[in-house]
Symmetry: C2
Subunit: 229 residues, 2 copies
């Protein structure tokens, strides 16, 4: 019971940090969520969720998840990585019911996560409009980022264009690091700084580059080359 | 003034129908929205909105709008058509601020629309959580439909595959109508009925086919052929 009490205190401070509405809940409802939080684990490469599943809210304790879509011929497009301390609300039914596209979530590194089941989360959402508004706003940001990414990759071929640019640069300078600011890269590519920065961030999440003040270090030349095809 | 009074009654009944939260507003706030609704017109082929504009809520009285995205080499992908009586909430700033992708809205047929400006809509959204929740939920449905469409077209080439199937069928049967149910089309294509139905609906909105109980009538063979390239 000592342990349990400790866990609840930790959990409570996590929720306090993650849910801007936490302080609006009465004590009984806070307890209700805490009591209905499970700690789950899942090992690498398992699919823990697809759109047909019964979901809930996930907060990563350790490890990481990858959300992606998959084409009929098996091509995958990574939409988002969910790391330690990140929250994923898309799989909650209150959100999922109004979502009409298919995503999958895989375990990328063995994962341990806090899980609030649908029933609990729905009850809170129905009782507190601040909670519902938070869930909806978080979702809009999340799927709007997805549209941005899909636009850039599938419609603008921005991943391909950036890959070609970076490979040209390291070949020209004979190094593994492109020592240019994002603004300059954007200028040379005829694009916008924000687009380049977000796409570089995506590459970094994919483990293809490493970003620092010095510039863009290429970590996985092979995958960068694959993007140019 | 008689006219004005009439207009307000009509407008009030439109809002009653469009906004599930209408009856939750007090009379003063209903008046406030009605008094801050403008009737605007815009003629064909003008862009009435891009993401950088100051927006608001649009309800179409007559005519139609087209929402699309555009690639750097000028390729367009129609995401949605907004017809008579449809509402568009995406352009409202309370929503727009959390949206990070770019869409454009063009006038397709001379349009007359009711327009609630951002300030008015925001004030109501801040005062009534039911209004905010409605705006957010409507947005999620709308952009989730967009992701579905982009997925199917850019990632699955479902528009291309369906176009090829339909052209093959009318060539085989030597008619202009494919007399098969959506389920059967899906079965033959190795897809799901829902995917086929939604994509056919998209084709219909694009003026490429006409759907009826008899089947799928091809109205614009030229555009259907263009999709197969």
């Amino acid at each position: 019971m000592g342990d349990n009490f400790m866990d609840k205190q930790i959990l409570s401070s996590i929720y306090h940090q993650k849910f801007p509405f936490w302080d609006s809940l009465n004590e009984a409802d806070k307890e209700y969520i805490l009591n209905n939080t499970a700690i789950k684990t899942c090992s690498k490469a398992k699919t823990i969720y697809d759109s047909s599943d019964d979901g809930g809210v996930i907060i990563i304790k350790n490890g990481s998840l990858r959300m992606y879509m998959i084409s009929e011929d098996g091509k995958e497009l990574t939409l988002m990585r969910i790391h330690k301390d990140d929250m994923c609300i898309l799989s909650a039914s209150c959100i999922n019911e109004s979502i009409s596209f298919d995503v999958f979530i895989d375990v990328e590194e063995d994962v341990e996560y806090y899980f609030i089941n649908n029933q609990t989360f729905n009850n809170i959402n129905n009782k507190y409009s601040v909670a519902r508004i938070f869930a909806l706003e978080t979702t809009i940001e999340c799927i709007s980022d997805m549209i941005w990414l899909i636009q850039q990759i599938l419609f603008m071929s921005m991943d391909k264009r950036l890959a070609i640019f970076l490979l040209d640069e390291i070949s020209r300078t004979n190094t593994d690091t492109v020592m240019l600011t994002h603004s300059l890269i954007a200028k040379y590519m005829g694009s916008a700084r924000e687009v380049v920065s977000r796409m570089l961030k995506y590459f970094e999440n994919e483990g293809i580059v490493e970003l620092s003040r010095r510039g863009v270090k290429i970590c996985d030349k092979k995958r960068l080359r694959e993007l140019t095809i």
